[in-house]
């Protein structure tokens, strides 16, 4: 397997040659910068994507928690989230590979919109699969994709959310694999996707590590990121993974030696309404896969899953559609299993409070995904040391309606009075 016991390539035979082709392209273009691929990728992420993103000292959070809190501002990437880092990388790679068409799945719509933007930018035909339920509840993202010229294919099967959209995209790919590249949206799926996506996203942590050294003069005590599939998580963590005494990780990346500074890594999962699972109904009222899942195979990889004892994948839940996935990247499963990454979770309410707190205290409306990291910061800042980096993986404009609805149902400590919101 790719990462300890995790990873692998559990896909239909028809896709195996494409994965081999992709692995070859990954090694040549991404790892070895053949034809200047990575140079072009970085230049486009700069000029088109708006990189580097700032690492901002959060003045009022720092005061609140009596320690230095820095925010990595991935909400400022073109499209409003870190998702473009990966989408642009993969669409560009597909172009280098001579592919003629792009497909992708999307749940909340963030990966779909990022892929549609990247495909428009690079002049590649693009189709996005999206569950019917998600199409109906994420209308603005559907519009954005269509405005960018992408086709959006609603998936009617099952509960009509991310899982079904992924299944359907695999089906398209199994049919069109010779001419089409499937832009997987997170560090999931069969090898080499988890590494490929991680490497495109690793710019987050690479920038943050340099920036915190410049601003604070040292590495942080902890890095906190939310985790659904885990692309912002791995993107943020990757460069920090070797920052520990354990030689297994110290040498993980190219040419690294053990480091003096220990950086703790916290992956904050969606605790939903409860960490308990309804095995009868096959429902997990959370998406805390690393915290509560068990090993299994889903969407091409061995990883931790929310599944029944018999192996059926559960319907997961989170107030944040972008975290609402029953699997997680295999590398995160490995890093959690080995103790390098600490999986934690906060519930919907803590995330909503995190959303409101950042909006009111710092003037940044975070994605509900990122709000989980902020919820954890509130609950457990005492354990995070004196210098903390939190990844704000995306902006929350897309979540306004959801947050309003969910806030109205609750008595939230950090929320404004939403009864007057209609003006």
């Amino acid at each position: 397997s790719t990462f300890g016991d995790y990873g692998g390539q559990y896909v239909p035979e028809a896709l195996m040659p494409a994965l081999q082709e992709l692995e070859d392209a990954y090694e040549r273009y991404v790892l070895e910068n053949e034809d200047g691929f990575m140079d072009e990728f970085r230049e486009r992420m700069h000029d088109f994507g708006g990189r580097p993103t700032p690492l901002q000292r959060a003045d009022r959070l720092s005061e609140r928690y009596d320690r230095e809190i820095y925010l990595k501002r991935e909400d400022l990437v073109h499209g409003g989230a870190h998702k473009l880092n990966n989408a642009l990388g993969q669409v560009l790679l597909a172009k280098y590979m001579g592919k003629e068409r792009i497909i992708a799945e999307t749940g909340a719509g963030q990966h779909g919109t990022a892929t549609a933007m990247a495909a428009a930018h690079l002049d590649m035909p693009c189709e996005i699969y999206m569950g019917r339920t998600d199409v109906n509840r994420q209308r603005p993202n559907v519009y954005r994709m269509r405005m960018n010229g992408a086709e959006v294919n609603p998936v009617e099967a099952g509960s009509g959310t991310l899982k079904e959209a992924i299944n359907e995209t695999f089906r398209d790919w199994a049919t069109t694999v010779e001419t089409t590249h499937y832009v997987i949206g997170s560090v999931v799926g069969p090898h080499p996707f988890p590494k490929l996506v991680r490497d495109f996203q690793a710019v987050i942590g690479r920038e943050a590590r340099e920036q915190i050294r410049e601003k604070a003069g040292r590495l942080p005590d902890s890095v906190v990121a939310c985790a659904g599939g885990g692309s912002n998580t791995m993107g943020t963590f990757h460069e920090f993974v070797p920052d520990c005494a354990d030689p297994r990780f110290a040498n993980e990346s190219s040419g690294r030696s053990p480091r003096d500074e220990d950086v703790d890594l916290y992956a904050v999962e969606a605790g939903g309404s409860s960490l308990e699972i309804d095995a009868e109904e096959g429902l997990a009222p959370n998406s805390a896969t690393l915290s509560t899942g068990t090993d299994g195979v889903l969407h091409g990889a061995m990883t931790k899953l929310l599944q029944s004892e018999e192996g059926q994948i559960m319907e997961s839940h989170s107030v944040s559609a972008g975290l609402d996935y029953a699997g997680v990247g295999p590398e995160l499963s490995y890093l959690a299993e080995t103790g390098r990454v600490t999986p934690v979770s906060v519930d919907d309410e803590a995330a909503l409070n995190g959303f409101h707190r950042l909006s009111r205290l710092e003037g940044i409306i975070p994605a509900l995904e990122s709000s989980h990291a902020l919820g954890y910061l509130e609950e457990s800042h005492d354990e995070l040391g004196d210098l903390v980096v939190v990844n704000i993986s995306g902006r929350g404009d897309k979540d306004l309606e959801t947050v309003l609805e969910e806030t109205e149902k609750r008595d939230l400590e950090a929320a404004p009075d939403v009864e007057v919101f209609d003006g």
Binding site: P12, A14, M16, R171, T175, Q307, Q312
Partner: protein, 287 residues
Amino acid sequence: MTDDSNAAPESDIETAIRENDPALITYITAGDPSLEDTKRYVEALDRGGSDLIELGLPFSEPVAEGATIQAAINRALDAGTTPEGFFELVDDLETEAPLLVMTYYNMILQYGSEPDVRPFVERAAEAGLSGIIVPDLPAEEADPLREACDDHGLDLVFIVAPTTEGERLETIMSQVSGFAYVQARLGTTGARADVSTATHESLERLSEYDVPKAVGFGVSEGDHAAEIIEAGADGVIVGSALIDIVAGSDDPAADLEAKAEELKRGAVRGAESLTVDAEDTPEPEQP
């Protein structure tokens, strides 16, 4: 038992195909709409002339299936079909045709208390299954399951796709166990109106290998079966067309039996046409 399928003694499955060439392989999803019904349907397919029957053990994320089988799987899951229920069904079944289980890898891994393939294989052997097909398990990831199958005398059937070529084809063909499941076209399962040119190309590519070859993905009519057999296959695999009957017929058992007969007749017709061709022309040409 099938470490080297070309040398080892033939398995039940290989025998069933070789002896009944052109063979008819039928598929239905277990538990659709109930395990009791499945029992009657399997018996009907057996009566109708199936030479091998694949029973689908439903998994919630069937990425290799088209809409028809997806729907069947959902019905089966909604009906509460479990692996244990599945095995009990197989325990009960007494068919002439050997039975295979078709399921996804996670279902195999999770049977038993720890993620491990062996408990599933043991129970499958105990229930009298002859083999396993796993649509999301390529040869590269198959070692643990192949070893377990070998230990219990089960065939692990591999799929050969239109994209399977070169070294990978060699590797897979060297590991063929039971038969080579030739995927007729790119895409997912599902009844189609025609036989793809990919089928002909695949059979052409496989013609040098002396292993039983059965073609599936899109076969729905006797005429397809005829054409496929004529193109050089040893058997045809039919699934979605049967699910349509399960889902839509007033008397599924009777219709399944009739459909199996139609398909078998088509296959035989194809084989006869081959013989005629062979008699007519000393150098048989692949259409």
